[in-house]
Subunit: 335 residues, 2 copies
DNA sequence: CTGAAAGCGCTTACAG
DNA sequence: CTGAAAGCGCTTACAG
């Protein structure tokens, strides 16, 4: 494999000139640059990664801590991972993947061995075991998700509170007075999972603010459980005319199927809104109004915030991505 | 951050002794080793990754090429990624994730910059654009999936042909004479996707061998399409008494729900078998007999085969993981 | 059982 | 606009 010396020899210059030409860190004569470019192309030269890490101040590697719980919703998770890996490439970074328990121990290992320049933490829970660790790590870190204590941390996430409020606001404006909320399986809430809890609590607060009645159910991902949940909503909210879904895609499908079986037309008999969904709701039958969980935006922003810190800008910030409402015709005014 | 010089000084030895003590590549006196261990612990020393890559022959980094298509089934994909990242850790390797088009260009980049010691290719299609590339790469590579031409390549995968044959064999032995096969969406087959095609073709061959009638449908992931597919099976196979599902979890759920609506009891009226599934079928209602797609085993084996090559053993092999049949009571003999 | 030293392939002050 | 050289922190023959 060609080294920088081979390139220098072929171009008739010194290795420092080659290095500077490649990094662009100082001006190079046009003729010189052309000869270097030609030599690089002809030899298929690519700088040795290890040498670069050792001599330079950057490794061009980013650690992505992506622990997977049994209840992790794979499609959303994958979208985040994708967005982060792609965004990293735009900064000429590659992504080292840390999973499971390695998501914690691996971080310490990567930092002390100087393998990575920065870290992105995915799926941060309110009381996340990685938070105390990264607080003492002297390296750029961005959290995707908002922990309970954000002191000194850079975080980014969808504004779940605003999303919950927006859900209630829209439906209340249509005249709905009793709105059901179908959440994730109970286990998630018990574990202190970030998104669902914030959404649930903000939803309740917004309902109080707008003076609408609500009830909250947490079905498992199976038809029987979803049916029981629907029945509970109808029982607790006799005037139920709208349902907000803050749950996985299979539960969406099941709920829509059950409503169909009950002969409830959407949106004539029931308004349905999907909130903070990471999948396309226009594949559903019928397509649902949605406040998307913008995994691509949020994940990408996580990388950008890390790169900002690498660039020297290191004021901790908590960035909340504002929610958007996309209408598909699955909600309607009460008649 | 402490360097090997700090450790050597603290332990009163040379840096080479520290290096050898840590790598275990030569015998060290007990007292010396104790002093080194103490110094390492006290200083929190961890070898610099870049220096190690440059001086040594290993980077301890593995590239995972995991392109994601629009139709990639996230949960299965994630299980593979997990299995590979975890298995890599057991060999003291970390995993660099390559996605999308980077799955191809990134490979070349990592190899020529000597960033990684080996490569695992995930989700290899029959006619995969990465295959010609890795063939000319002078680095250990293992393919998870079997391309059309395996010359010179090390591959591992579930034995889909055997899995298809096993499906037919079990149902034929129960007396079923007409067996429907529900596959993935048509697009996957058009794209030359690996698993589904191999399963479909082997299923047809096995049906011929056992003298049973079959029909093959490829519904989209939505209730209406699945209903149409079921109706097509009943129309084409008037004596339909068994269905094999080689499709995603949502389609499983939909098919079971539709059978329930039709009043068909499982297994009394219809035997149902899930083939090459990457999710737990005992969560379904009813739990289904399954021939699992052992993503954990296959993914892990992909890493092991790469490590074998790194260790010097480099005979290309195509390893097929034999299928297993797990009964859950969803099939029964024809009465 | 241990050490002195070369060398891995870069980056970056220092110098002109 | 360009070059000579130090140095990043390891590993590994070479030597004893």
């Amino acid at each position: 494999m060609a080294t920088i010396h081979d390139v220098a020899r072929a171009a008739g210059v010194s290795i420092s000139t080659v290095s500077y030409a490649l990094s662009g860190k100082r001006a190079i004569g046009a003729a010189t640059r052309d000869r270097i470019d030609a030599a690089v192309a002809q030899l298929g030269y690519r700088p040795n990664a290890g040498a670069r890490m050792l001599a330079g101040s950057r490794t061009n590697l980013l650690a992505l801590s992506a622990p997977l719980h049994a209840d992790t919703y794979a499609p959303a998770h994958m979208t985040f991972v994708l967005a982060i890996a792609e965004a990293a490439r735009e900064f000429d970074y590659d992504t080292v993947l840390l999973v499971q328990d390695e998501a914690v121990n691996g971080l310490r290992r990567m930092v002390s061995s100087k393998l990575v320049d920065g870290i992105v933490l995915l799926d941060v829970d309110r009381d996340d075991s990685r938070v105390p660790l990264v607080r003492e790590l002297d390296i750029p870190v961005t959290l995707v998700g908002i922990p309970a204590d954000t002191t000194g941390l850079t975080c980014v996430d969808l504004d779940f509170e605003a999303a919950a409020r927006l859900s209630v606001e829209r439906l209340a404006a249509q005249g709905h007075r009793q709105i059901g909320l179908i959440g994730h399986p109970e286990e998630l809430y018990a574990r202190g999972s970030n998104f669902p809890i914030r959404f649930r609590d903000a939803f309740a607060a917004a309902a109080a603010e707008f003076g609408v009645g609500t009830h909250f159910v947490m079905p498992e991902q199976e038809p029987v459980s979803v049916r029981v949940a629907l029945e509970e909503l109808r029982r607790e909210l006799p005037g139920l005319s709208a349902i907000v879904l803050n749950c996985n895609e299979p539960v969406h499908t099941m709920a829509l199927e059950l409503l169909r079986q009950d002969g409830a037309s959407i949106p004539q008999d029931m308004s349905v809104l999907s909130a903070c969904s990471s999948f396309p709701t226009d594949q559903l039958d019928p397509p649902l109004d949605v406040i998307p969980l913008p995994a691509l935006i949020t994940g990408r922003r996580g990388v950008e915030l890390t790169m900002n810190q690498l660039g020297g800008y290191s004021e901790p910030v908590v960035e909340l991505v504002p929610p958007a409402y996309i209408a598909k015709g699955s909600t309607a005014s009460v008649t």
